[in-house]
């Protein structure tokens, strides 16, 4: 199986120095578990930061050199159309660029591939099939079997990246290719230093006294419940079980 992992030029969340985003290194680890031929692909002016991925289990990195402000989508699509990998892996969101998480979707559209988001586990699922596990909210998972070729984005809950080894990073090959320069996306939004915005608080709490705010924070949304005083333990147990069933949290 041929796998291409898309790598982006990220910035470290704390130091802001160039480094590959953690979730893309996690994608690398998922790919290396599949015993496949893996290549990294990056479109950008240089391999700054991205090259570190070579130390995390990647052997070859294809670098499509384009101008700093041109859209990487065109170059990536052109290359992937030519190489036709079975599986393309990407991070769920870049870290240090536009950070909108839109590129994998636009790319899948361009290549006519299906896309599945938030994957944490990938297993081979037979001829031309892949069994993947997708993260859902509240700790639930979804097991999906899908046909190849496909594009998957990886979720941060996937297994941690392989540890960095210096020797592997030295050994890894970077192939420079000429990318396609294109117009930068028009109408760039105005940018200013980030400032945290206050989160919304409950309407009833705004402006009222401290006692009212505490009450709003702790009182039942729908007041007035059932009260049983000194029931027999067996009766109490029956009541509780019926109530939990009604709510739907006790399934069985």
């Amino acid at each position: 199986m041929k796998i291409t992992v898309l790598l982006s030029a990220g910035r470290h969340p704390v130091s802001a120095r160039p480094c590959p985003p953690a979730v893309e290194l996690q994608a690398l680890r998922l790919a290396s578990g599949l015993a496949a031929d893996i290549t990294g692909l990056h479109a950008g002016p240089s391999a700054d930061g991205v090259a570190d991925a070579l130390g995390h289990g990647l052997s070859t990195l294809n670098l499509l050199t384009i101008k700093g402000d041109s859209d990487p989508l065109v170059s990536l699509a052109a290359t992937l159309k030519a190489t036709t990998p079975d599986l393309i892996l990407a991070g769920r969101q870049a870290q240090g660029g536009e950070d909108s998480g839109l590129l994998p979707y636009a790319l899948a559209r361009e290549l006519g591939l299906p896309i599945l988001a938030d994957v944490v586990r990938i297993d081979a699922g037979g001829e031309g099939l892949l069994a993947v596990e997708q993260v859902l909210p509240r700790g639930a998972r979804r097991r999906v079997v899908l046909r190849l070729p496909a594009l998957l984005t990886v979720h941060p809950a996937a297994p941690a990246p392989l540890p960095f080894t210096f020797a592997a990073a030295r050994r890894g090959k970077i192939t420079q290719l000429q990318g396609v320069d294109s117009q930068p996306p028009s109408a760039a939004p105005e940018e200013r230093p980030y400032r945290k915005r206050p989160k919304l608080i409950a309407k009833s709490a705004a402006g009222a006294s401290a006692a009212d705010r505490l009450k709003a924070a702790t009182e039942a949304a729908a007041g007035g419940g059932r009260l049983l005083v000194n029931p027999a333990p067996a009766e109490a147990a029956r009541e509780i079980i019926t109530h939990l069933r009604e709510i739907g949290v006790l399934r069985r």
Binding site: P13, G101, R141, Y194, K199, A217, L227, H243
Partner: protein, 408 residues
């Protein structure tokens, strides 16, 4: 000074009792018209009278207004209960007959119910629709409370099977094209965010992802590793983070069903099968758990408590006293200095309900409490409250669950 002068003559005339030959004044009765400023005057005597608790020989006043005396005719107190009367009148439904433009909102509505985030998305759509627009809700399945949340129109756009993101995105893109919506707002959740990006790719338009503030004139989002804030006039496609915009709070709207089905383009479907695996309650983090059973200082038998948690398939929690004593791990602490829950149901055993603890339970929809103290705050908070010894209820619960299992 601009204060109006008192006019003793008219004031006196207001107290005149009609129907007697001789002019008679009733100074005790409240004047028909209020004071010259229009504000009703307080009448301390009548307030005290209405707060009097009937019955006991000794005078007792209840100033919490819980007494039946609420119906007293003093201006002050009647004024207080007025809003309640207004609430009972059926609210008028707002109808937008000929909208100047449309704004779409795409709620997740898991299980056919709007989440708080969905309501905020509809509230944001309402904001963008100010000035003659109408909000179209496009959920993935039937949802009831759309009108109250601010939707003028609605149309269900479902995929072909239970998990068909490709089909739903294609139907949505077609509907947005056909309705020519000015804006479409999505929640930035796992499902909503995925859908928003699929639709953006299908329409070939940019998406303003994860907006952190939204008004009719500007939206902002974080970019470049949360170091800069991007600001723009609201584009066509916006996805909104939680707690950024208030939910709609006005009069209910009609949520009239329309036909928004557009020409759906063929999409490559690659999903062969999909199956949801529920979370393992024993390992799921407390903040994500759906059902939490929690022990307080009233619990002494922790072996039995753990057995009960396992039998109920719940996630274990505890109050601070229990964690401080080392009887439960610190990670299990619920409350202001522990974990704030997002659970559907919270089951508290032997917990008093200190304010610090209740803050951790504030977002839970249902609370069940077992406590020996009738006056515990937890009992007041609970939807099902049982005043009993938790040490006896726990084995009874375990026995009942076991009996059910053997019967099956």
């Amino acid at each position: 000074m601009s204060r109006t002068r008192r006019d003793p003559r008219t004031e006196r005339a207001l107290h005149l009792v009609a129907g007697t030959a001789r002019p008679r004044l009733d100074r005790a009765a409240a004047p028909a018209a209020a004071s010259p400023t229009g504000r009703p005057r307080r009448d301390p005597r009548a307030e005290v009278d209405s707060a009097l608790v009937p019955g006991p020989a000794r005078r007792r006043l209840d100033r919490t207004l819980r007494q039946t005396g609420l119906t007293g005719q003093t201006g002050h107190i009647v004024h207080l209960i007025e809003p309640e009367i207004a609430l009972t009148a059926p609210p008028r439904i707002v109808v937008v007959e000929e909208p100047a433009f449309l704004v779409a909102a795409v709620p997740d509505a898991p299980g056919g119910r709007l989440t708080a985030h969905d309501r905020q998305v509809l509230g944001a759509a309402r904001l963008l629709a100010e000035g003659g627009g109408a909000v179209v809700a496009l959920p993935g399945g039937p949802v009831e409370e759309l009108g109250g949340a601010g939707a003028d129109r609605s149309q269900v756009l479902a995929g072909e099977s239970e998990f068909d993101p490709e089909g739903r995105a294609a139907a949505l893109a077609a509907a947005l094209r056909r309705l020519k919506v000015r804006h479409a707002v999505f929640p930035e959740t796992a499902e909503g965010g995925d859908l928003a990006r699929r639709v953006a790719a299908a329409l070939g338009e940019p998406l303003f992802a994860a907006a952190e503030s939204l008004t009719a004139r500007a939206v902002t989002r974080a970019a470049r590793g949360r170091r800069v804030e991007q600001r723009a006039t609201p584009p066509r496609l916006v996805s909104l983070t939680a707690d950024a915009v208030a939910a709609y709070a006005g009069a209910p709207r009609e949520a009239r069903e329309i036909n928004a089905l557009g020409e759906v383009a063929a999409v490559p479907r690659a999903i062969v099968s999909a199956r949801v695996v529920p979370a393992d309650p024993a390992t799921v983090p407390l903040s994500e758990a759906e059902f939490v059973v929690s022990a307080g200082n009233g619990i002494t038998d922790f072996e039995r408590f753990r057995a009960l948690v396992a039998a109920l398939r719940a996630t274990p929690g505890a109050s601070r006293v229990v964690c401080d004593a080392g009887l439960m791990p610190r990670a299990a602490q619920v409350g202001a200095s522990g974990t704030v829950l997002d659970a559907t149901c919270y089951f508290a055993l032997g917990i008093a309900g200190a304010p610090q603890h209740l803050q951790g339970v504030a977002r839970c929809e249902h609370v069940v409490a077992v406590n020996t103290d009738l006056h515990a705050a937890m009992i007041e908070r609970a939807g099902l409250a049982i005043v009993a010894d938790a040490q006896e209820v726990m084995p009874a619960l375990l026995a009942a669950l076991q009996a059910e299992e053997t019967r099956e």
